[in-house]
């Protein structure tokens, strides 16, 4: 992990449209952002697409970054991209439901390559509700403080704390 000063310099470069600095941001955060998407979707192909979308969007939006927690800003964009994906998925599912075709079965049924190597954690995470799962992933992969997470989610810190505590406790019980 780069020091704060280094990161600040890289961010300045990114704002100027320096491709070298943007590449450094990819190297620094791709792993964590990919894990965030993978744990939320459980699908490598979708995670690939979302990660690409995230960094291309980041390139376009860097001029709008006005300081503050960079991770907070980055994961807010990641969270928005994930929600857009969910909305799109929901629309597609509704469309397929209406048609009652074989297409639905093919799209909702995970491909073999996607389920290969799915770990126990992923299986247990799927049993949590979407909001709690997202909160846990945001906490773990963004490495933000509870205060920053509450800000990203635009909710009181007490709500964030109790939701996360309940979710992690349940996950712990399921995993043990």
């Amino acid at each position: 992990m780069a020091k704060s000063d280094d990161l600040a310099q890289i961010i300045v470069g990114c704002k100027k449209g320096d491709s070298r600095c943007l590449t450094q941001i990819v190297d620094m955060y791709a792993s964590r952002c990919y894990a965030y998407f993978y744990r939320l979707t459980g699908n490598r192909t979708v995670s690939d697409d979302l990660l690409s979308e995230l960094f291309v969007k980041l390139t376009e939006k860097f001029s709008s970054y006005k300081g503050g927690s960079f991770e907070g800003w980055l994961f807010r964009i990641a969270s928005n991209i994930f929600h857009d994906y969910l909305r799109g998925k929901h629309r597609r599912t509704k469309l397929f439901d209406a048609r009652k075709t074989q297409v639905e079965l093919e799209t909702t049924e995970p491909r073999r390559s996607d389920t290969e190597g799915v770990d126990k954690l992923q299986v247990q995470l799927a049993r949590l509700d979407a909001d709690t799962k997202e909160l846990i992933m945001l906490r773990f992969y963004s490495e933000l403080s509870f205060k920053e997470i509450a800000k990203v989610r635009s909710e009181p810190i007490g709500t964030t704390l109790s939701k996360l505590h309940r979710g992690l406790k349940r996950l712990r019980e399921m995993m043990e």
Partner: protein, 173 residues
């Protein structure tokens, strides 16, 4: 930059839970996070990372012409404003004390002549006055020349007074 390192979980939970509950909550959070660390998610493919970097290059390249056009347009606009301001400034400086316009010349003509409906009489008066002024001017000039040759100032003063009297009679109509 990492906010988690700076926060005291126990203190934070104690703000919302009873002390024993807070300790238990902190333990739950730490153990669950330990489970997440022990079960790492897969890493992104190297090809995917290379592709993302290529996409970033493409996005930047696509943005460049628009940026260049905006910059050039901005600079041209600024240059145009500077040129216009400079031109106006030079024009104002060059003007200096203004010559009287035609209207101002007209205002110098005595009201009696200006208002008169009898154009022929007014013209005759004006011609007479002009002739008188010229005559006095000639006399002044002659006297001035004579003064240089040793004539007194008094005659000049008298003539000047005469000229002033004619002039004021004229303006009074």
């Amino acid at each position: 930059m990492n906010g988690q390192n700076q926060e005291n979980l126990e203190e934070l939970f104690e703000q919302f839970f009873a002390p024993e509950q807070a300790a238990s909550a902190v333990e739950d959070v730490c153990k669950a996070e330990q489970i997440l660390r022990e079960n790492p998610a897969p890493e992104p493919d190297e090809l995917l990372i290379a592709d993302i970097k290529w996409q970033i290059e493409e996005a930047l390249a696509a943005r460049k012409p628009a940026w260049t056009f905006r910059t050039v347009a901005y600079r041209v606009a600024v240059a145009a404003v500077i040129i216009v301001v400079a031109a106006i400034g030079i024009q104002l400086l060059q003007k200096g004390p203004q010559k009287p316009s035609k209207i101002e010349y007209a205002l110098m003509i005595p009201r009696a002549i200006w208002d008169s409906n009898d154009i022929s009489t007014a013209d005759a008066d004006l011609a007479l006055l002009t002739a008188e002024i010229r005559q006095v001017e000639d006399e002044v000039l002659t006297l001035e020349l004579g003064e240089r040759r040793g004539n007194g100032e008094r005659a000049v003063a008298e003539l000047e007074m005469q000229l002033i009297a004619i002039n004021s009679n004229f303006w009074e109509g």
